[in-house]
């Protein structure tokens, strides 16, 4: 579907040009791939806060810190910086369904995930594209199992997530046709994980009954230093890795030990080095989800304190 309502810019990327002198000069000014400074089992720090949007029933804001560039000599161009993840989520509802809608004995959950046009290095359109719809479907799957829907017959709730700053799919330095090795769109995994966590916080802020708070976590198998070695990392940042072989994202309910959504992408393959299996990948994603659950709970505690007037 084409967007006929606005005058859109060129469909290609619109980021500022990066001149080759920054890329090819001596090693001191060479812009390097950001390196993962965390341990493989350490998550990025997360900032989560509810109550961003006053007009919504519930809202939350989540951001993951951007990975710092290792080389301090690099010119401070905005187009060279790598971005973190910034999500804002609003929940509208539960509110009555329109009269025209058929009867529903439980709440009808609708999820919208939209990248802001400026969220990624390559400019996004104003209409949701297939990847955004895909994220929405995944998010709905993750949340549907959490909300106790029977308590709101004939009502609907809308979860709307705007991605203000998206995870990059690869290091921009690779974005010249030479690095297209893997399936790509690895950033989507972290984004979805963030979406799940932030939506969970916003739903809790809206006061919708849930069986548990669901949190998302990502784990990935990345190509290690050696040619054949692979490593398992939690919360991967795609620009930091030369190649991501496979990644898994789970939506996990810690109190019930349930998974409401599981999405594995990529191919570990039947390589000689069977350092990791899909089970291991999923288990590590659950560990990552537990990590984000801690932040989620802290944020919700703060919300509850604010609401109950304690501080």
């Amino acid at each position: 579907m084409t967007d006929r309502r606005r005058i859109n810019g060129p469909s290609g990327g619109t980021s500022a040009p990066v001149y080759s002198k920054y890329l090819t000069k001596d090693a001191s000014t060479q812009i390097e791939r950001p390196m993962r400074s965390r341990a493989p089992n350490v998550l990025r720090k997360m900032f989560l806060k509810t109550g961003v949007t006053p007009s919504a029933s519930g809202s939350a804001y989540l951001e993951l810190e951007a990975s710092k560039s290792t080389n301090t000599n690099t010119p401070g161009l905005a187009s060279l910086s790598t971005s973190g993840l910034k999500l804002t989520c609003t929940v509208h509802g539960p509110r009555p369904l329109p009269k025209s809608a058929p009867f529903s004995p439980h709440i009808i959950l609708s999820t919208h995930v939209k990248y802001a046009p400026f969220a990624t290095r390559k400019r996004r359109g104003y209409l949701r594209d297939s990847s955004e719809r895909d994220l929405g479907v995944h998010l709905e799957t993750a949340l549907r199992g959490v909300i106790i829907g029977d308590r709101w017959p004939k009502s609907g709730v809308e979860v709307i997530i705007t991605i203000l700053e998206g995870e990059e799919d690869q290091w921009w330095g690779d974005d010249r046709g030479r690095g297209q090795v893997t399936a790509g769109e690895w950033g989507m995994m972290s984004v979805l994980s963030g979406c799940i966590t932030v939506a969970s916080a916003a739903i809790a802020d809206a006061g919708i009954d849930c069986v548990d708070v669901v949190s998302g976590g990502v784990a990935a198998v990345v190509r290690g230093q050696g040619k054949q070695s692979t490593a398992l990392v939690l919360d991967p940042v795609p620009p930091e890795h030369q190649e991501i072989l496979a990644a898994a994202i789970v939506a996990y309910l810690p109190a019930r030990d349930e998974i409401t959504d599981l999405w594995v992408k990529g191919d570990i393959g039947n390589q000689a080095v069977q350092s990791s299996s899909y089970e291991e990948l999923a288990d590590n994603a659950v560990q990552a989800a537990l990590g984000s659950h801690r932040v989620l709970v802290a944020a919700l505690k703060e919300t509850a304190d604010m609401k109950l007037g304690r501080s």
Binding site: M46, F47, S57, Y61, K99, R294, K307, G309, R310
Partner: protein, 729 residues
């Protein structure tokens, strides 16, 4: 409170006996009447310095506070009290700042429903700070801190900065509260979530939790304060009192109180305050709002009116529809145009315009007819083609004119009009030769048709008498001929009236003639005669029947509308309707009579019905609307008692009822009937032919099922001629 005060006083050590009741009550209030805590607080407060209490009193009483907090080491004296009074030369830092009153939290802009929004976060913070200050003081409090702790005791004051920082309407909790340190003499520190978490010991951030980024800070932190000493804030009196926090609508309004007192005084006692106009209007508005809600629903909800009772109550004018019939060019349209013009339904300007246009086309005498003949085709040819309706009112009755076409090609349209009429006006051209040709032509046919359509009363307007110089002989001649013909056609003599008139000049229509030659006529004018018509009986209690005379789009909101005259029964907004022959159910969305929305309509009225819940393809002109409770049935075969105008043999005919017309054939003649008694004549002999003028019972088979039922009147036409007309059986 009183009991608590006494208890505290008893528990206090004798050294603290000077403590006032007010001072005791304050901690009691803050500790929720916990006597022990209050005592501990008072002891800790009053042991170090006796003067603190006094100073605090001063501060609390006047809500204005100086930026300078110098200690009074002496006992209270007036001089010291006014010591720092600047006497008009107030330094800038001490000038009070007026703050917008604290608006109640409306929550009008939505926001997440706060669980217990009893205390603002600031209040809570103030309480926490107070507690902390107290703890510090009890563990060897310093003199600098003590007054500050006292300052925050007044919980109402702690709300002040909030009023300054808050934007009206948004829930307070969305913002991080203003920095608790702002009230302290320490320089204002930029707040962060870290400072926050330090304040609340229960919240230790987990290791994964990050500081907000610069971007997040713009969203969550308060903007930097204007450089003002918070101490110089001055609240408007009464705004910060706890009353502002309570529900202002909980008690009776001042108006209610006054009204109740008044009603009590005037002895109305228990009846409660009488409703004022304002309240009634408010109720009306509330009702209106409810009615608006109903519009959301797919169909309008019925008000369940007792339509008949409403109709009795309404006392509308008598409504009457009459059809104007006559031979082509008898002057029907002109006569009606003159009638409308003389009754000022049409203004002079319009007539002048028509005259000009008609002259341009070389048909100046048609100008009046154009009032009713609106179509370009009709104007160009100078004949009426389709039924034109118009309305006028006399003192007694509201009339609807149905101007029927006189041309024989448009007889079906004329039948459609006649089927809606209560009585008929037969227009006869009195000019030489025209009357005779007309009598042979449509004058007769029309008269027979309207009779067979059930019209009882007929007013004969003998037109164009000015062309025969108002000859009384001519009038009498025509009158004799027509009355004899009409009597044979079945009209009663008392239901006949004859009026000489001139449509072109307007004599004897709305006014009496000015012509000398017309002095002989002393009877009523046409309008007077119309007024004499008796109110028609309406079949109100019968099941609903309405033949659709037009289907159209009644506007954007009403995609499908029909119009027609209710033949029987009544209807109201929201009623379910059954449209036959499509057998589709639909609902009345809205009703209109004479372009005005109404709630109900009864038989005899011409209504516009806006439908909902039906597709356009199921609604056609000529369809019959009935109520689903007593639906009209689609029939494919009908038996009717008809008066033959032509020879009737088993042949294909067109059955016309109002706008409905369907092809069929006469499959059998069941018998010829006696006109007087209605008995079958000729015994059991099989009849093959019905001669003109005979009454016969025939069986007609129709091509498709159409909604027809027993007391209905049908016209059978064949080859462009009316062959028979009669009653369904």
């Amino acid at each position: 409170m009183r009991l608590g005060t006494i208890a505290v006083r008893e528990a206090l050590p004798p050294t603290a006996a000077y403590v006032t009741d007010k001072e005791i009550q304050e901690p009691l209030w803050h500790y929720y009447y916990d006597v022990e805590k209050s005592v501990a607080y008072l002891v800790s407060k009053h042991t170090p310095k006796l003067k603190m209490a006094k100073k605090e009193n001063v501060k609390v009483k006047g809500n204005v506070q100086g930026s300078r907090n110098d200690e009074c080491s002496n006992p209270f004296s007036v001089k010291d009290f006014f010591g720092d009074m600047p006497w008009l030369n107030i330094p800038l830092g001490r000038q009070a700042t007026f703050i917008a009153p604290l608006y109640p939290r409306g929550g009008l802009l939505g926001g997440s429903p706060d669980g217990v929004p009893k205390m603002s976060k600031l209040q809570v913070l103030a309480a926490a700070r107070k507690k902390k200050a107290q703890e510090q003081k009890s563990s060897g409090s310093t003199l600098v801190e003590a007054p500050m702790a006292n300052l925050t005791l007044d919980s109402s004051k702690s709300r002040e900065p909030k009023a300054g920082s808050s934007s009206r309407g948004f829930p307070q909790r969305k913002r991080k509260d203003s920095n608790p340190h702002e009230k302290a003499p320490t320089p204002v520190k930029r707040e962060s979530s870290k400072a926050e978490s330090q304040d609340s010991p229960m919240e230790t951030p987990p290791p994964d939790q990050a500081e907000p980024s610069a971007f997040a800070n713009t969203m969550f932190s308060t903007p930097p304060k204007p450089a003002q000493q918070p101490d110089s804030f001055f609240t408007l009196p009464y705004n910060a009192t706890p009353i502002a926090n309570t529900d202002p609508f909980a008690g009776p309004s001042p108006d209610d109180v006054v009204m109740a007192a008044q009603s009590k005084a005037s002895g109305k006692g228990g009846k409660g305050p009488p409703k004022t106009n304002g309240e009634k209007r408010a109720e009306q508005i509330a009702n209106g709002v409810e009615a608006l809600k109903m519009d959301d629903t797919p169909r309008a909800r019925s008000k369940n009116l007792d339509v008949l009772a409403e109709f009795e109550k309404a006392e509308t004018k008598n409504a009457a529809n009459f059809v104007v019939i006559g031979h082509v060019d008898a002057g029907k349209s002109t006569l009606m145009g003159r009638l409308l013009y003389d009754l000022k339904v049409v203004d002079q300007r319009t007539i002048d315009r028509y005259k000009r246009e008609a002259e341009k086309m070389g048909k100046s005498s048609f100008a009046l007819a154009w009032v009713l003949d609106q179509g370009s085709e009709e104007r160009a040819r100078g004949v009426t083609i389709d039924i034109a309706t118009n309305k006028f009112e006399t003192a007694k009755t509201a009339f609807t004119i149905l101007d029927a076409p006189g041309h024989r090609d448009f007889i079906p349209n004329m039948i459609a009009g006649a089927s809606q009429a209560d009585f008929a006006v037969l227009v006869i051209d009195a000019s030489t030769g025209s009357f005779e040709s007309g009598l042979k032509g449509q004058t007769k046919e029309h008269a027979l048709l309207v009779r067979s359509m059930g019209v009882q009363r007929i007013i004969t307007a003998i037109n164009k008498l000015d062309t025969v110089s108002w000859s009384q002989e001519r009038f009498d001649e025509i009158r004799t001929q027509i009355s004899s013909f009409l009597t044979t056609a079945g009209f009663l003599a008392k239901n006949l009236a004859f009026i000489p008139c001139s449509g072109l000049h307007g004599d004897f229509i709305a006014r009496r003639s000015t012509e000398e030659a017309a002095k002989w006529y002393t009877g009523p004018t046409l309008v007077e005669e119309l007024d004499n018509s008796e109110p028609v009986h309406r079949a109100l209690t019968k099941p609903l029947r309405l033949t659709i005379s037009d289907v159209f789009r009644g506007g954007i909101q009403n995609p499908l509308s029909i119009s027609g005259r209710i033949e029987a029964g009544s209807l109201q907004n929201g009623d379910a309707l059954l449209i036959q022959p499509a057998s589709q159910k639909c609902f009345i969305k809205a009703l209109e009579i004479d372009n005005a929305a109404v709630d109900w309509a009864v038989a005899g009225q011409n209504v516009v019905i806006h439908l909902s819940g039906i597709e356009e393809q199921y609604v056609k002109v000529g369809d019959v609307v009935s109520s689903p409770a007593s639906p009209i049935r689609n029939v494919k075969e009908l038996v009717c008692k008809v008066l033959a105008f032509e020879v009737l043999v088993p042949m294909s005919v067109e059955v016309i009822r109002g706008r409905l017309s369907v092809a069929g054939r006469i499959v059998g003649i069941l018998g010829v009937l006696d006109k007087g008694t209605g008995e079958v004549v000729g015994g059991k002999k099989k009849v093959r032919v019905v001669k003109p003028g005979q009454l016969a019972r025939v069986k007609v088979e129709l091509e498709r099922g159409v909604p027809l039922e027993a007391p209905g009147r049908v016209v059978l036409r064949s080859g462009g001629e009316t062959v028979a007309a009669g009653l369904l059986e």
